[in-house]
Symmetry: C2
């Protein structure tokens, strides 16, 4: 069970904007250099973030991206759902009545994984971007 780079980079990049934004758009090139993330990969991620109104873009020279809301209004769960970093703990289709083994009932562990998913989502709902920027101390990049 691991977090993929897509979600990790998305949060990292947005935290970077939140930190360096002085109301000017921040270019992906700068984020790429500061955070050490591939520029082309960032473009892909930001296309999703834009589609989901997490950021807005400014095209052309001196352009870049800005947050659409203040950092404390952007929850990790919003970011993750935008880039489709979704957590899946159950083995079955949620909507289906069938279990993960193809049988007609949900398996013996189904409820446990469901609770786990809830537990994790709780964390993502409670954390937002400003939680990351507040703690900007010397020990971080």
């Amino acid at each position: 069970m691991k977090l993929s780079t897509k979600g990790r980079y998305a949060v990292m990049a947005l935290a970077d904007i939140a930190k360096f934004d002085d109301n000017n758009p921040v270019s992906l090139r700068d984020i790429s250099l500061r955070q050490g993330i591939s520029l082309l990969y960032l473009e892909q991620i930001f296309s999703m973030l834009k589609k989901n109104q997490i950021v807005e873009s400014v095209r052309g020279s001196n352009g870049g991206y800005k947050l659409t809301k203040s950092p404390d209004q952007i929850k990790i769960s919003n970011i993750f759902s935008a880039v489709q970093e979704n957590i899946k703990t159950v083995g079955c289709k949620k909507e289906s009545k069938k279990g993960c083994n193809g049988k007609s009932a949900k398996c013996i562990t189904h409820n446990l994984w469901d609770e786990l998913e809830l537990h994790i989502n709780e964390f993502f709902n409670k954390k937002n971007l400003s939680d990351l920027v507040k703690g900007k101390n010397e020990n971080r990049v």
Copy 2:
């Protein structure tokens, strides 16, 4: 971010033993049939569970596996560490001083992912096998 079958099956199989065990060993064949898990895959998983003293084996005809402890003493975290279903949320090496981007300091999101890992482990430490078996009602397999 998803839970892999290895961990899911391990818990499912052990819950099966906890449920059907009347002090006789339970064969992998039976578990395979009841839970719809590949027998060969189960063998692989149980080899790890045995090495870590979660189960003990009885060889030969009418053999199978038994839990080494009572279900309420077997935590999900014990099972997961046995089958190496480990959760990894950070992008960097925990022990290293370097960040996930190869830079000399931990990245801006590092603490967040670390907290997440703690939060998830808390869940696995608090749940045990008996939590699964207690709730054996008609709606489950």
